[in-house]
């Protein structure tokens, strides 16, 4: 009979990076080489990560499918499972179920400009797409990234931000909330929606990928409207509470759509047809 969808892969924590206070990135390798070879995913998908003895929690896969042999997840220590994970060390074993959910339609985006707008701990789901796009750079026109966090310390992927900043083929803008800057801060100061308005990116042939706290999304959409972005050219990724990840446990639905099956990636055009249950 078929496999047990609740049985996780065993993963070895190969590398841990401290990104920001309470935020870590784990690089995970499959314990079983056969499983590693068979494993395939696409940008936008997520998984259920296990700390055996505590339980599971849901994060996106933060590394791009173009980098094979490992997956990465970035998480903030917040509840029981994430606290247990955060206390784990390199070489220890954890669990992973996935990949689950739909994907960003990157094939449809070929030949277009990509505008990434991310806030706080919501950069990880977009980081997967950003690196995916950069690893096949010729397929896309302009790649612009706007990223904001509460403070300089809260910015994640600091070494990668530097790398993107130095690349001539990426336009990166980093901003921190007023009061979150340090004396030597050279980036922008201000909330993401107002910096977005200031930058005024063109909507022409451009896909906007937005992910962040609800308040950032709420105030960024009207700016995108003003800039002429059509709803079908705006994408976001949702993270409702989940348990099974496979459309059965019954809690992540937004109206008739399951975030775990029909999402987590939604176009704004589709979201507009659904109740605001996220």
């Amino acid at each position: 009979m078929n496999n047990n969808i609740y049985l996780p892969y065993l993963m070895i924590i190969e590398k841990i990076v401290e990104e920001a206070p309470g935020v870590k990135t784990f690089r995970l390798k499959f314990k079983d080489e056969e499983e590693a070879k068979e494993f395939k995913f696409k940008a936008g998908q997520f998984g259920e990560y296990s700390a055996f003895g505590e339980g599971e929690c849901t994060f996106c896969i933060a590394s791009p499918p173009t980098r094979e042999g490992y997956i990465e997840c970035t998480f903030r220590e917040a509840g029981k499972v994430t606290s247990t994970l955060a206390a784990m060390e390199e070489g220890e074993t954890m669990g992973f179920r996935g990949p689950f959910g739909n994907t960003f339609p990157m094939d449809e985006w070929k030949g277009k400009n990509l505008l990434f707008i991310a806030g706080g701990i919501a950069l990880p789901p977009l980081r997967c797409v950003i690196w995916n796009a950069l690893d096949m750079r010729d397929h896309f026109k302009n790649i612009q990234i706007l990223y904001g966090a509460k403070s300089v310390a809260d910015l994640v992927y600091k070494r990668e931000l530097k790398e993107w900043e130095e690349r001539p083929d990426v336009q990166l803008t980093v901003t921190v909330d007023p009061g979150g800057e340090t004396p030597d801060w050279k980036g922008e100061i201000g909330f993401v929606p107002s910096i977005l308005e200031k930058l005024g990116p063109s909507a022409e042939n451009t896909i906007a990928i937005v992910c962040g706290p609800p308040v950032m999304i709420k105030f960024s959409f009207p700016v995108l409207d003003k800039l002429g972005f059509k709803s079908e050219n705006i994408y976001t990724t949702l993270e409702n509470r989940m348990k099974c990840g496979v459309g059965k446990c019954g809690r992540c639905n937004v109206g008739k759509m399951y975030v775990c099956k029909d999402g987590p990636v939604f176009s704004r055009a589709l979201l507009e047809t659904l109740p605001a249950e996220y």
Partner: protein
């Protein structure tokens, strides 16, 4: 479909034989004032008298709490022990009413609409369902309003209809039922050709138009009808726990030092914690939103996504509700809005 006759006396002997053949018997048993499905050791404990058990028979395929796999931690390493179906028993579910037998349809759809759910499927395929058509009902019953009926055979492998004080008409419905019948045919007799099953069934009035309810619900998503209906709901989840088709579950850890089990437990969309994010945000933060989810899931999302209504009209949620919220009354409101 074969039609046979079996006397009460032969039926009891047949069930005894089933037990000595090593098949577990899961059937209604009365203890105190409550009748519920249990695994029974003696057929003398069987109860034929209640209109409806408190809980549905779903736990026989979807237990209230169930191990999904086990793990052992050793230093940096972890060993997993997969779900083991070999220990599961063959079960004869006896004496469930048509509304419970038909409930395995929506359950199966939820567990298999996309990926296959091994724990559910392994238990389900070991079940044979012998239902008892209804000769009695109460004011909470509304199977006829959701496409069912007191003699509905859908989901049953064999259905018995009480036709005399001491005998039953037996309809052999599925291949599985036929295999079972062939094995125990010596207990059965030929049924008289002039037995008309419907003469023995209770009449259950249709209370609302289900298509209209489905259509109206979607239209009224933003209406205050949900608040009106759920004002007194205390979010206890009893409705979900007694329901034959509610399948929402939680996944939890049952840890004992370095070993443990990943388990799944019944959950309810009526609980405030059900959708609560770690951040504190809750997409369904009020009881009326949770009540709307319960009804929309059963009567709008499931019909649309799984082509099956998530309700069999058994009426248990209304019988169990501590604040007397009556589902069929509430559904009827959607015919008048």
């Amino acid at each position: 479909m074969k039609r046979k006759y079996i006397s009460r006396h032969s039926l009891m002997n047949c069930l005894k034989k089933v037990q000595t053949d090593g098949i577990s018997l899961y059937a209604p048993v009365t203890r105190g004032e409550q009748t519920d499905f249990r695994f029974i050791t003696s057929v003398d404990d069987l109860s034929f008298d209640s209109v409806q058990t408190v809980r549905s028979a779903k736990a026989v395929a979807f237990p209230c709490s169930e191990k999904l796999f086990s793990y052992t931690k050793e230093k940096n390493d972890v060993q997993l022990q997969d779900y083991n179906p070999d220990v599961l028993p063959e079960v004869l579910v006896f004496g469930l009413h048509p509304c419970d037998a038909v409930g395995f349809g929506p359950l199966g759809s939820i567990f298999n609409w996309d990926t296959q759910d091994k724990p559910y499927n392994e238990r389900r395929k070991r079940l044979t369902l012998i239902s008892l058509a209804c000769t009695r009902a109460d004011e909470y019953c509304f199977c006829t309003s959701v496409g069912g009926g007191p003699g509905n055979t859908e989901g049953s492998d064999i259905q018995l209809t009480p036709i005399q004080e001491d005998g039953y008409l037996a309809e052999i419905i599925t291949d599985k039922g036929n295999e079972w019948y062939e094995k125990y045919s010596s207990f059965f007799e030929e049924a008289a050709e002039d037995i008309r099953k419907e003469n023995y069934l209770v009449e259950i009035p249709v209370k609302f138009n289900i298509e209209e309810v489905e259509r109206k619900m979607t239209e009224l998503f933003e209406s205050d009808i949900w608040q009106l209906q759920s004002e007194r709901c205390i979010g206890c989840g009893a409705c979900a726990f007694v329901c034959p088709t509610c399948a929402c579950f939680d996944i939890q850890e049952d840890a004992h030092g370095n070993t443990g089990n990943r388990i799944r437990c019944w959950d309810s969309c009526g609980f405030a914690l059900f959708t609560l994010h770690t951040s504190g945000d809750n997409p369904r933060s009020t009881q009326s939103q949770r009540w709307r989810q319960r009804l929309m899931h059963k009567f709008s999302y499931m019909p649309e996504r799984l082509t099956v209504v998530g309700c069999t009209g058994c009426g248990r949620c209304s019988r169990a509700c501590p604040v007397d919220m009556n589902l069929s009354d509430n559904l009827k409101m959607f015919n008048y809005e």
